[in-house]
Subunit: 334 residues, 2 copies
């Protein structure tokens, strides 16, 4: 973290509530205000009053659209002139493609060659160019940087970026508007963009609320980093939550998580699958495994401890192929 | 239709917009304002601007809660004293159980013995008593009437009832609020409660809009009745859209449909399954087959004819077991 960043995070100059509100004002017509749905079934299971923030119904079916818009806005003129580039085979790819289409920015996305066909197609359908690289994340990073350097395209990072975090934080503003008396929020964490944005907003507006991050046991990078007190690299094991891949938190996101987040909760692979099927069965929502982490954590860690409390579980995305969903239904009942 | 009913429908005394608004005012805190979601994929397919009314996210996951509240409100005092009874093994059972629980009415639901276990349990979970009868709809009707007669419980009909239709019409008020410039609405029809309520509201507020009902080819009772000019009994064949079972429209609903509805569109079994899978895949919504009829009809009947038009497709419910959904995914891709 360079001096300016450290100071920004520490003095909260860069992440004051007014700045999140300004971002939201610019995005209000471009985002869906996703519904906050009271859950009878999860309230009964946990003893709390549980609300689901169905960000799976966001345009592109993921919160990553917020990060993409947030990342483009501060450098929009340059991006319109020169294009934008990022590396992602997941929801950020579609988010940036969509945001670019809406804002008049030509978007290039670098993906690993092994990326699932339907993700490639979804990104192309939104008008982005897809460039393939060898199947290593380090290769992807290198290719993105080369395109940035050689072609002058604006590099947009999916989480460790002031603009992206401010975009993510717009979800926090919605929560406080939709449920002003909320007591706790559960947010899945990979690199920590959404977690840090939501935490920064909610804690500034409602300091007594507790914010929890959630990660798979197989990808505990934020949890381990907190234990060590610094961003720490942890080799991920494969997880059914395939959107949670960050081996290390970002510098900005880690600082915000340290400052605003209560705890990082871990959940098992089986608990994640059960959560996906519960949401399908009892809430009629298609939520991808990464997006269902909060439900798994609620059931495992908070049941019985939140009597009378209003708890929000953020369902971050719904991009899951029907065939995979069908397999998960089968495996959960088997 | 008795003289008073006929006059009511014809003079629209009973279904004036003010009466729907009064019902909505009484239910505002009890219902979810379900989201209206713009659909990129269906807009692209049809050439129109297509919006999905996700009533699958209503409490109890079906519009039938509106009909249940609507049916109880006008006779609430008596129902609180004596209880209420209905016959249903579908969404109306859960709707009435839920509404009864919220309004302090003891609810009894008569179901066929063969009714699916999970429907029985969902109804009991909401606090209703379930009474079984032999596997004939005529038996169910007889049992409901006997309980009404002998125990004095208030009989609540799921569609052919002024209160139920006014409850259903609250969805129409939401549509006109959410998309004032709408040009057309597609609504699934069994007995025609939702179709007639929505049509009565939307046509009174926006006469130029066109309202279409949709039925499976296997259950064309409203379509045939319109061709004959009177409520006509049509033996249903089994349909994957298992919420569409009415062999004959109601008297009130038929009169409103004759007055306000443009046409009844028919869709095939395969088109219904494709619509369910499309909604799952591209909109991340769990919609039961009966609830997806409008999407099937849009694709079959309106594609290419609605350029520039704002078309709302009402997704009426989401109560579908994960295992059945998984089977449909498999059959649609096979």
């Amino acid at each position: 973290m360079d001096a300016r960043e450290a100071e920004g995070v520490n003095s909260a100059d860069v992440f004051r509530i007014e700045q999140f509100e300004e971002t939201r004002a610019r995005l209000r017509e471009k985002l869906r205000l996703t519904p906050l749905l009271y859950s009878d079934s999860l309230s009964a299971v946990s003893g709390g009053q549980v609300y689901l923030k169905a960000e799976s119904l966001q345009l592109t079916h993921s919160f990553k659209l917020r990060a993409a818009y947030g990342g483009l806005l501060p450098r929009l003129e340059e991006a319109r002139r020169r294009g934008a580039v990022t590396g992602s085979s997941g929801n950020f790819a579609q988010g940036l493609a969509y945001a670019g289409r809406e804002l008049g920015v030509q978007v290039t996305v670098v993906m690993l060659e092994r990326s699932a066909r339907y993700k490639v197609e979804a990104t192309r359908r939104l008008g982005a160019e897809v460039v393939f690289c060898a199947n290593e994340f380090s290769e992807r990073t290198a290719r993105v940087e080369r395109i940035h350097r050689e072609q002058g395209k604006v590099l947009v990072h999916s989480f460790d970026d002031e603009g992206a975090i401010r975009g993510d934080g717009t979800l926090g503003l919605e929560l406080v508007e939709q449920l002003p008396e909320l007591d706790a929020v559960l947010v899945p964490a990979s690199g920590g963009g959404l977690l840090s944005g939501v935490a920064a907003v909610v804690k500034q507006l409602r300091p007594q609320a507790k914010i929890y991050g959630v990660q798979p046991e197989h990808v505990p990078s934020m949890r381990v980093s907190r234990e060590r007190g610094e961003p720490t690299y942890v080799e991920p094991r494969p997880s059914v939550a395939d959107g949670i891949v960050a081996a290390c938190p970002g510098r900005l996101t880690f600082a915000l998580v340290q400052r605003y987040v209560e705890d990082i909760l871990l959940v098992s692979e089986n608990e994640i699958v059960q959560a996906v099927v519960h949401l399908l069965d009892r809430e009629k929502l298609v939520v991808e495994p990464s997006g269902a982490l909060g439900v798994a954590a609620l059931r495992r860690h908070l049941s019985g401890q939140i009597a009378g409390r209003k708890v929000v579980v953020v369902l971050t995305g719904g991009n899951l192929e029907p065939a995979r969903l069908a397999e998960m239904v089968k495996s959960a009942s088997g």
